[in-house]
Symmetry: C2
Subunit: 473 residues, 2 copies
Amino acid sequence: MYDLTIALRTDSEKCLYEQIYEYIRQEIREGKLRPGERLPSTRSLAEYLQISRSTAALAYEQLVSEGYIESRPYRGYYVCRMEELYRLDTGEEDGDADTAQTSGKRPQYRCDFSPTATDMSQFPFGVWRKINKNVLSESSSGLFAQGDSQGEYSLRETISRYLHSSRGVNCSPQQIIVGAGNDYLLLLLEKILGRHVKIAMENPTYKRAYQIFNSFAYEITTVDMDSAGMSVSGLRSSDVTAAYVMPSHQYPTGVLMPIGRRLELLKWADEAPDRYLIEDDYDSEFRYKGKPIPSLQASDKHGRVIYIGTFSKSIAPAIRVSYMVLPQALLERYRRQCAFYSTTVSRIDQKVLEEFIREGYFERYLNKMRKYYKEKHDLLLEELADFGEAFQITGENAGLHLLLTGKRGQTEEELLTAAEAVGVKVYGLSESLVEKDSGESLRQPGGTVILGYGGLGQEDIKNGLSLLRQAWL
Amino acid sequence: MYDLTIALRTDSEKCLYEQIYEYIRQEIREGKLRPGERLPSTRSLAEYLQISRSTAALAYEQLVSEGYIESRPYRGYYVCRMEELYRLDTGEEDGDADTAQTSGKRPQYRCDFSPTATDMSQFPFGVWRKINKNVLSESSSGLFAQGDSQGEYSLRETISRYLHSSRGVNCSPQQIIVGAGNDYLLLLLEKILGRHVKIAMENPTYKRAYQIFNSFAYEITTVDMDSAGMSVSGLRSSDVTAAYVMPSHQYPTGVLMPIGRRLELLKWADEAPDRYLIEDDYDSEFRYKGKPIPSLQASDKHGRVIYIGTFSKSIAPAIRVSYMVLPQALLERYRRQCAFYSTTVSRIDQKVLEEFIREGYFERYLNKMRKYYKEKHDLLLEELADFGEAFQITGENAGLHLLLTGKRGQTEEELLTAAEAVGVKVYGLSESLVEKDSGESLRQPGGTVILGYGGLGQEDIKNGLSLLRQAWL
């Protein structure tokens, strides 16, 4: 029988049974106690170590629970036979190569025309805090329970009313699925549509959506754009079953798809069963000329459009709430195949958002931001007036970015390098190209860059453009 | 030229330009204004309707934006040619068949031994509210920005410390991915592991995980269990590349996998490149005998275990925060292939959770709940004492459920039916079977039912068991 020489410490933070348990476990792991070897009885261990028998029993019980030792009736405790004992070396795991945060250092810019930045300076933090507080005080316990897979019904009702009045979307709350961001909803959509989808995307397009579809088994076909958006003849010449479009303000080109093209797309979708249009309505809230353009879904009479929108752009990027409107046929498929996926948004967050919309704060905030962003947009256009000779402006009047195309033969690369030299970050259109020749496009004359203004103040815009004037003109 | 007889209403909520815009749009949609037809000039429309010319221009601009009409230089406005005009009928969409909430009526039970229910009565709502308030007051604007794809670094640091001290998990914050629930993390894992995975699951197993893997392209093999968990010889005789296990407290059987079996599993994973063990540590916080059992990941020295845990069980179902610890090789693959997927948890929620853990509230709450659930567990066992002749109890001492197996030849179906007759809901083991013969198993003698006690009060447990005594004994 093994002789246990355990140095018990009464001044240790660990209680006695833990010390015994850990000692024996270590002896087994290091092979000093061999499989099949018998351990002292709890009585003799207790006597030997001058501890109570129940302490010894507790240590053994823990070792039994974890499978290090076993109790054989009327015979005592034995070390278990473990085929893989070789693994229980004491070597430490390799240290992690990373020493700090994952993201590397980025150069500091004097002005960053980021097309994804938004402005939170006007956000009613006080209101949000107040609603949060109210929601958490009322009937808290129920709110902490797990909610409906599709999202809370009352939030979906609120969203369906909002979508109908502001985007012309025709849908019942039953058709809406609330999820933590567009990326998640696309992951879910993959499970609804199935694995064998051939999808058409415009080129250039929203790169993240491309990366996501690419990480699916989807076969992606890029279809050329003209001034009205995705070319339907291009679509017809491919054998795709779905098309991803942003009809209200295409990213990055800013093209607004006219009703004629929308109807052609819908007709294409109608011509064969199981064809769908995925409408990403990402920044439709911000239009600075006339009324907002109704969604593509609003013209869809035969259930061909999957509509996706988000509050990340219209409220705050941290609000991880997006929504997907499914046509009836896909809704049935979702219920059959995917309804077991739990919701990704907490009930509390859903309730806060619902109150924010229902009490009219969302609409007021949107109106304020539309005006606020329009001021930035107008200032940008005004300041760009003297670029007019050298650059063509497109994609304006909506969203949070516009495009400048060089008229004097500059390549995109030259524009980017010159901007960088004066400390200004602008974004190349070729970043959004998904064909393999984006490097080539970077070096072609007539380069195009994207200027986002959502996150910049008026002074930033003025300074940034004054620097760009030095760089480019 | 078309004669526009628009009945303008000055008492309408809609401004004049909108009324004109809508009227013309309707005329086009109904085919009364034909493609190619010329519209009156803004001047003549303004004169005719007695409105300002800029109002007329605004209406036309909106119609141009949406692609209904076009402006031909020096010639005027024309209705666009739209191939698909036929679609623009005015027929209303079919009403949704559903009239109310999606979930149907469920029978009311006098007592529901749900294995997934948890008890929120002891949750420190006041503390949660306070932390929420503090987090929202401090530097709010930054918190509303989009966060790190993997989750906030400081939360991941906090989680890694917690996992190390309570579950023996060895990981750096860099290896952790925070996501909105286990289901989401599994969706992400599919993208990391790739599409062609053959996965082994125990049988019976956690049904939702089965459904999720089934919705992937994964080929699922069920491997038999013995009293130590997944059979490694069963695993070896299949050609799977991954295995999904719950070593701390298997669902539904409650089996605790001993260290020997764990090491065998790790050895199996080591024997070929790209083999992984997915450890779902779903309710490891609740163990009522001895110390908590360390995780499988704690014994993994060669980066073979993907560890998944959740706060939905240990804090509240509404807290949609789970975490996945990736071994180094998969972390690199994640960074290369999936880092563009945005985080699914808001920064605010992450911050609140981090504070809750860092300030020690989480540990205190866990200790309290462990004691509280243990009382329920002990009461249940006590009350089950007189079932001992007729039922065998297994899976006790941990988690929030245990199993009863009939010793008198009753089938599962008989047990369920008899319980239902007295208004008590218990859960059949066959629900967790993933083979096709679960119906058969339902009708075999020696049926097993699952009794969850997490959501029940002491009185409920007593009453429920007294009813079951009537039904079964």
